[in-house]
Subunit: 206 residues, 2 copies
DNA sequence: TGTACATCAGTGAACGCGCGTTCACTGATGTAC
DNA sequence: TGTACATCAGTGAACGCGCGTTCACTGATGTAC
């Protein structure tokens, strides 16, 4: 008696990973509000009690998904940075473009990443992922103004991040450019980015 | 037979208003996640079915609370603006301070205000409240750079708002300065604000 | 190579929960005459 | 000034829902001997 190939094995293989993938997709489709463990299980074709073997709670799964998000965000920024003209200023702008593009393409995930509770933020894997994103941003700023005093660098790190994050957040929440075409919106974003980089150069310049 | 003064009247008097007030407080205490109609009713000392006479749904109540929030935000910005040195640049910074202070003092409400769905944003009362906030901000920018071309003004409106909103959002979400004292954090915020206003002046100056 | 057995990763039933909303109702209010 | 009556704003019971989590279980896997 040969089992057909389509028979589902009793063991999933890598349910943990499957739940993360399914959860991420669910998040994008339904938002945080529509995110449930049971639906994640359904999408992974598994009973709703199965996830308990891999995640202690729904928050643990969300935290893992957010950590992946920060990893991807960092990757997106790096990829865009590599595509830039190679100057420090060009790279800073490009990373900003990568940041905004990632947020726009994964808005629910992005929202999740920036609405985590304090206890979630303390999870080592997540903290590490966030640390990488921060570090990448800091490096890009420091490359633009290598000779500036530390406090100025810190100010510019805050400032640059705030303007990029603020702009795309306001766009995602419908506060900016809800009547604009995607093209017009992108141009407004680029304007913010170039204003930002000019400020960094001028403020941190020797 | 005289009824004691403490006897609850059958009719509430102004349940609609009471629900908004209770809801706002609940939002601050429990966040959006812990916000329920039934708890609002409980806090207004009324049966859980009573709110239906005043709000068609829980979202309608949330929308109203958000609209109040935008009103208060505008008031807070104006109040801080009046306390400034009277120069256009000083007023712009002061309004930014008011914005950040409001967000910090009402973080859950602030989060609600910036996580509204498209259909909620279309509610006339809310749209009007948001419009006032936008207008106030725009005026402050235009006063700083009255002679700049319209596109530059628009760019600076976007830019200034993005940097202020981005900074305080990142702080509230624990991404910036989670190890800082409130005093240190405020100084980082002020640094962002002064960098912002310098940029506006320089970019829009004749 | 075979077998016993511990461990792991699933299942499906059940629990308890609080929610939003609906419904028939009733007490209170205010207005027309 | 009094009365009938429509309307309004509450009540409390009920409905149906899907959720997270727990539990005893069982099938599958892998390892020691």
């Amino acid at each position: 008696m040969v089992k057909p190939m389509t028979a589902k094995p009793y063991h999933h293989g890598d349910l943990r990973e499957a739940l993360i993938v399914a959860g991420r997709k669910l998040m994008e489709e339904r938002g945080l509000r529509g995110f449930t463990l049971r639906e994640c299980a359904r999408r992974a074709s598994v009973s709703h009690a199965a996830p308990a073997h891999h995640f202690a709670s729904i928050d643990a799964l969300l935290t893992e998904i957010a950590a992946r998000g920060f990893h991807e965000l960092t990757q997106a920024m790096m990829a865009e940075g590599r595509r830039s003209d190679g100057t420090p200023a060009g790279r800073l702008v490009a990373q900003g473009v990568g940041y905004m593009a990632f947020a726009a393409a994964n808005s629910a995930l992005f929202r999740l990443m920036f609405s985590l509770e304090a206890d979630q933020l303390e999870t080592p894997a997540l903290a590490a992922a966030i640390g990488s994103t921060h570090a990448l941003h800091r490096e890009a700023i420091e490359a633009v103004i290598p000779d500036a005093p530390a406090e100025v660098k810190q100010r510019m790190v805050d400032f640059a991040w705030a303007s990029v994050h603020g702009f795309i957040t306001l766009v995602l929440e419908g506060q900016i450019g809800d009547k604009d075409s995607p093209r017009a919106l992108k141009s407004r974003g680029l304007a913010v980015l170039s204003t930002m980089v000019e400020t960094v150069v001028r403020t941190g310049g020797s």
